[in-house]
């Protein structure tokens, strides 16, 4: 309204229907002094009567002592009135329907909407605003002396109003600046609980509260105590269960949570002796405020004073409610961010573990005359500690190794790496597979024992040109051996896993390879593969598969595919719980005699 004289004045009156009439008459006089015509004065008197009646008729019981207020802003073209009420508030529909003709009520809003050019209703914390706007039918007139004097007196009233508003604004500013500082500190390293304690203390000072208790909602548990004023144990329960209706009857915090409304207590409505808040709130006054965002309960903030008759002012209540809501949201966000960070860290850890795991597998397996050697490694979703290796020894033979480190992730992958390097180093000095496991156990025991981990392993030594292999195992699944006769056997030589006892001595067992031998070293990820019903695969299907391969003198690559297909078909889409690893030694089929 540039270059337009705007007059402001206000009427504040007790929450009483008779006072509404007086306020309407005074408002009419005030508007008449500003040159409004009879018709629009009548309209405004009616509009204000309806608005004032509603503000009085629907006021919350605890707010009946608070005044209702008409704020006027009159320009040459418009009259704007803001009606401040302390009702629970309502939703003002865009279109208000007329009630049935024989209904005795329900026409006030229709009149307001019809007579005003604009009507908006805004709910606030403890105070709501009905904003009404109507274009003037009679434009503003220049003021004579008497009117000017009248206006001057109203200007003085307005100045008082303005001072009050300034005071409220200053309070709001203080609240806002606190929230800004609060947000800035949120990014620091404080734990949410410490953070909440510190900042609720600040809010307590601003709102002149003597104590506070903040509880946040935890799924499946209830309202968990997160922060409270003071260091002493006040007998507050750590968790209040929302499912216990009996407690809801006596707990103002639970009532606020279940009603999703502020629950007040004072001398007239004291906190019951059985209420967990009684120690704090038993003789004082205050309220429990539910922190609700997007219709979801985040927690309950309770604030109070030790004196029952020292109630909070509307502005202080507003600060506490606003800050409580903001704090709840921020703490929830912080917790969410921490969960996200943890998820990302875990994912990164798994990537690292997988990388280590891949680097352990031999890039090329040694060539063994008369045999094919082939390996397979399938990582489960969570990386485990499986690995296999094969390398020639000084004697000209080949050592086959397979191992499974207990556990998942980086620790398991790290021990697999250590095991591999120790295995290669030990192969030079220890000699037989049994001696090698004995040495490996002594070497790894201190580290494994410290972190309470263990390794299962199986070593097979294939001498140069020989058909008698040596097997040593440490808590590992048996070796499968099948021959061209179509028979398969599981050869067990289990000792304790590595890392269980420091002085375990492992021995090897010699096995003569049958003609057309297929030898399978594998980890328990195969035998413990599960079908959709959770049933384990066990050993038999693998034995049969290997026997069939040996009998038919299948190439190793073919047998590998058959073994993988066997497990996949059994799992039928169920993801493996553990790594699946094997090393297959398959004797070549004899060359057919040259044709003559």
């Amino acid at each position: 309204m540039p270059n337009e004289l705007v007059r402001r004045f206000a009427f504040e009156f007790p929450c009483d229907l008779t006072a509404v009439r007086d306020a309407c008459r005074q408002s009419r006089a005030g508007l008449a002094a500003l040159g409004l015509g009879e018709e629009e004065l009548g309209h405004w008197e009616l509009i204000l009567a309806e608005a004032g009646n509603n503000a009085v008729s629907y006021v919350l019981e605890r707010h009946t002592r608070l005044p209702v207020r008409f704020d006027f802003c009159v320009s040459d073209q418009w009259v704007e009135v803001c009606v401040l009420d302390h009702t629970p508030g309502f939703d003002l529909p865009a279109q208000v329907e007329l009630p049935p003709p024989d209904s005795e009520g329900g026409r006030g809003l229709y009149l307001i909407k019809t007579l005003c050019d604009h009507a908006g209703y805004f709910r606030g914390s403890g105070e709501n605003r009905l904003e009404l706007k109507k274009k003037r039918l009679t434009p503003g007139v220049s003021l004579d002396g008497a009117a000017r004097d009248g206006l001057q007196s109203r200007l003085t009233e307005s100045q008082t109003t303005l001072d009050l508003m300034t005071e409220e604004l200053a309070s709001a500013y203080e609240s806002l600046s606190t929230i800004f500082r609060f947000s800035a500190e949120l990014s620091d390293q404080l734990q949410p609980e410490e953070f909440a304690r510190k900042w609720l203390g600040e809010v307590g000072k601003i709102a002149a509260a003597d104590w506070f208790v903040l509880r946040l909602f935890e799924e499946g548990r209830g309202l968990k105590l997160v922060a409270k004023s003071g260091a002493q144990d006040l007998g507050l329960r750590d968790v209040l269960s929302l499912e216990n209706a009996g407690v809801a009857d006596v707990s103002v915090e639970l009532r606020a949570a279940s009603l999703r409304m502020d629950v007040w207590f004072d001398a007239a409505h004291p906190v019951p002796a059985a209420d967990p808040l009684f120690t704090l709130a038993g003789r004082g006054g205050g309220f429990s405020h539910p922190i609700v965002v997007n219709d979801r309960l985040l927690g309950v903030l309770s604030v109070g004073r030790h004196q029952a008759d020292a109630g909070f002012q509307a502005g202080q209540v507003s600060i506490i409610q606003t800050f409580g809501d903001f704090l709840g949201i921020q703490i929830r966000n912080t917790q969410f961010q921490q969960q996200q960070l943890q998820t990302r860290l875990t994912a990164r850890e798994l990537e690292i573990a997988a990388e280590i795991q891949r680097s352990l597998l031999p890039k090329q397996l040694p060539a063994i005359p008369g045999f094919q050697l082939i390996g397979h490694y399938l990582s489960a979703r969570q990386v485990g500690g499986d690995f296999y290796d094969a390398f020639p020894t000084q004697e000209g033979g080949v050592l086959l190794a397979i191992a499974d480190v207990m556990g998942k992730g980086v620790p398991a992958a790290m021990f697999a790496a250590i095991f591999r390097s120790q295995l290669r180093a030990g192969a030079e000095r220890a000699g037989t597979p049994g001696a090698m496991l004995t040495w490996l156990n002594r070497s790894l025991f201190p580290d494994l024992d410290q972190v309470e981990m263990f390794i299962t392993a199986e070593l097979v030594y294939l001498p140069p040109g020989g058909r008698v292999i040596q097997l040593a195992a440490a808590g590992h699944p048996p070796l499968l051996v099948a021959g061209a006769d179509g028979r398969a056997q599981a050869v067990d030589n289990a000792g304790l896993p590595l890392g269980v006892m420091a002085d375990t001595v492992y021995t090897e067992r010699s096995i003569s390879l049958p003609a057309g031998a297929n030898v399978l070293l594998f980890t328990d990820g195969f035998t413990e593969a599960r079908d959709r019903a959770g049933k384990l695969l066990w050993l038999d299907p693998m034995e049969k598969c290997l026997a069939y391969a040996a009998k038919n003198r299948q190439p190793a690559e073919h047998t590998k595919r058959a073994l993988i297909a066997l497990v996949e078909a059994y799992q039928n889409g169920v993801p493996p719980c553990d790594d699946q690893t094997f090393l297959l030694l398959a004797e070549n089929a004899p060359h057919p005699p040259p044709s003559t």
Binding site: E39, N53, P101, T114
Partner: protein
């Protein structure tokens, strides 16, 4: 507020306001004044400085009582603003409004 009994009609006059703070008293006063012979109530609104929706509720209540007796409520000489309100709320279709 005064009443005058005119055969089967009760005439109500000198009504200063018919608003939220007076509507209940109006309703009780009229109902208390109704005799068994009264089928019609004429409410003279010419002196009513203000009428609001609560006052209308009181008029509708009396009207419903009269309808049960086979009668009705008539409104006499409403001020322009009150007449406009009846029109806005479409109550001019329910009440007999006599402007003379």
């Amino acid at each position: 507020m005064r009443t005058e009994k005119l055969g089967d009609t009760l005439l109500v006059t000198d009504i200063p306001t018919l608003t939220s703070d007076t509507s209940r008293a109006f309703k009780e006063y009229v109902n208390g004044s109704l005799g068994p012979e009264h089928k019609f109530v004429d409410v003279d609104l010419s002196t009513a400085r203000s009428v609001d929706s609560n006052g209308l509720g009181a008029l509708i209540s009396v009207h419903k009582t009269l309808c049960l007796r086979g009668g009705r409520l008539r409104l006499l000489r409403p001020p322009p603003l009150v007449a406009e309100m009846f029109q806005i709320l479409q109550l001019d279709k329910i009440f007999d409004i006599i402007h003379r």
